[in-house]
């Protein structure tokens, strides 16, 4: 990226478990409810309240661990991470320190057609904190505890990434895997998945540099630009003879800069100790086995299968499987249909409409069934590709099905030879003079006959069949 320097990047992803209730209480996790409306006495840390763990959240952590090719620890322990902050009523976060539920694993990422393994150090379960609003009042900070106690999976990577592109691909891949597993909805805008990025720089051959952690990045774009900014900042400091201080920094999305988050500097002494309210979490072999057998096909496997079954290119397959909803959509359309036609229509026509309207595939104005119906009509020759594009556009606007539009507008192509033959005969008999000229060598007149026949069919004649018929009739 910057010549003469190497980058080392490690990432912590916080992924919210897709559960109905919180990790240690039965408050709802629904997004967007009124402030403090989903706070139980446990979440508010009322004296004497005891945490009871949510089985579903434990299961999702195990599922995610399996999806990350990681070791599942049959015994794990919950610890208290102590710090004082207004959005943490307990005064400590229940997390896992020495003995996480998931240990070492790895995933494969791809940049510029090169694939690479990125190590996973661990995945552990912990509570989310509440939310502070600093901009509602000049003198006060407002606190909403709805998020307090929601289950998070913290996924820690090895420092295996060397460029902002690799970092982004890593987060994309983890997000994709979690979405396939359905353990986290991956909604970055709502904060269901966010990344803390550790960046350091060093000269090739030198020891690793001192790292800085950039907190709470919730888009791929921010991850990319925050890493570039931070690397440049560190290089500039080192080149001017200064030292990097290990610290936590915040990324400003407006200026594109990172700045030191001094308030947390003293807070690094977390005084972890096992939570006396929670016994060790012991997982039974049978239960883990049952979870393992319920793991769905994951993106890498699906990519290979799509290449094999539908003859997709590496590239098309990567694009389609990278998002679970897209691959589901594709597979619904491609079932019992011509894969080549389906791939073209999904990756070019449909994607370009979605991009233009800034919609996700789940919000697609055209359902898989409707797109399939359109493709059936193309494949059977009932409509031409030209007509299909117009129909497609109308489907986007009205949400109507292809068949309805074709019937309503009488758009269907005439491919029936008998019917077309009548047309051709008609054209030949009413243009006897031109037929003579054509037979005497003026073969440019062929286009004229095609045009006349098309006119008669009101543009509905199948051009291929029409051409063949005309040729055989005129040349005898």
């Amino acid at each position: 990226m910057i010549s003469g320097w190497e980058l080392v990047i490690g990432i912590e992803i916080h992924a919210q478990v897709k559960s109905k209730s919180k990790l240690f209480s039965s408050s709802s996790t629904e997004f967007g409810s009124g402030p403090n409306s989903q706070v139980s006495l446990v979440d508010a840390a009322m004296p004497g309240m005891l945490p009871v763990i949510n089985k579903f959240c434990v299961e999702q952590a195990v599922r995610s661990g399996i999806g990350l090719n990681a070791q599942i620890n049959k015994k794990s322990i919950f610890d208290r991470k102590n710090y004082f902050y207004q959005d943490l009523p307990q005064g400590y976060q229940i997390s896992q320190f020495k003995d996480p539920i998931v240990g070492n694993g790895f995933i494969e990422i791809e940049t510029d057609g090169q694939s690479k393994k990125v190590g996973i150090e661990r995945l552990h379960l912990e509570q989310d904190a509440g939310k502070s609003l600093h901009d509602q009042d000049p003198n006060l900070t407002f606190v909403d505890l709805n998020r307090s106690g929601i289950a998070l999976m913290e996924i820690v990577s090895m420092p295996d990434m060397k460029s902002p592109e690799e970092a982004v691909e890593y987060v994309k891949k983890v997000r994709s895997i979690l979405r396939y597993l359905d353990t986290c909805d991956g909604n970055m805008e709502q904060g269901s998945l966010r990344a803390d990025v550790n960046v350091s720089v060093n000269k090739p051959g030198d020891d690793l540099g001192t790292r800085c952690e950039i907190k709470n990045l919730n888009s791929f774009k921010y991850i990319h630009s925050a890493i570039i900014y931070e690397a440049k900042r560190q290089i500039k400091l080192i080149e001017s003879g200064e030292n990097i201080i290990q610290e936590t920094r915040l990324y400003n999305i407006d200026s594109g800069e990172t700045r030191s988050m001094r308030s947390k500097e003293d807070a690094h002494d977390y005084r972890y100790f096992p939570d006396p309210d929670l016994l060790p979490l012991i997982l039974e072999d049978d239960w883990i086995k049952k979870i393992r057998s319920s793991i769905p096909e994951l993106p890498d496997q699906k990519k290979e299968r799509f290449i094999r079954e539908y003859s997709l290119s590496e590239y098309d397959s990567s694009v389609i499987v990278s998002d679970k909803s897209t691959s589901d959509y594709y597979e619904k359309v491609v079932k019992d249909r011509n894969p080549k036609l389906v791939t073209t229509w999904v990756t070019s026509e449909l994607f370009s409409v979605l991009n233009k309207k800034n919609l996700s595939i789940d919000e697609s104005p055209i359902s898989p069934n409707h797109l399939g119906e359109l493709i059936d009509n193309i494949d059977s020759g009932k409509i031409s590709s030209r007509q299909a594009k117009d129909i497609f556009e109308e489907m986007c606007e009205t949400g109507e099905s292809a068949n309805n539009i074709i019937n309503e507008k009488g758009l269907s192509q005439i491919s029936d030879e008998g019917e077309l033959e009548k047309l051709v005969d008609n054209v030949i008999s009413s243009n006897a003079e031109n037929v003579e000229k054509y037979k005497n060598g003026k073969d440019k007149l062929f286009g004229f006959f095609v045009g006349e026949a098309m006119k008669l069919s009101k543009g509905k004649a199948n051009p291929k069949v029409l051409n063949e018929l005309l040729k055989s009739k005129l040349n005898t």
């Binding site: 009124g34 409306s37 009871v52 763990i53 579903f56 600093h134 003198n139 915040l250 308030s263 979490l281």
Partner: protein, 95 residues
């Protein structure tokens, strides 16, 4: 054993508790004796004992994922010393 001044200040800072200079001596000796008492545990040989072993010999009990607490705002905010628009409000925290 006494709890030294620096540790005492650090602990106070981490817990956001202001420690009055005049209380320093008594606090230091009070906390010191608590730690001394706890430290007696160190004399027990725990070489082969699991740090989280317990006399119950049982694992964490799990509950099903059912959301049941709803519309808690009034109840939860009842004890708040200060509130605004269903939020807890605290002196401005600047990052």
């Amino acid at each position: 054993m006494k709890f030294d001044k620096d540790s005492l200040y650090k602990l106070g800072k981490l817990s956001k508790i202001q420690i009055d200079e005049s209380k320093l001596k008594s606090l230091s000796s009070d906390l010191g004796s608590i730690i001394e008492f706890i430290d007696r545990l160190k004399s027990i040989d725990t070489e082969n004992v699991d740090p989280t072993s317990n006399s119950l010999d049982q694992s964490l009990v799990m509950r099903e994922d059912i959301a049941s607490d709803v519309n808690t705002a009034n109840e939860i905010l009842e004890n708040a010393p200060q509130k605004e628009l269903d939020f807890f409000s605290v002196p401005k925290v600047i990052e």
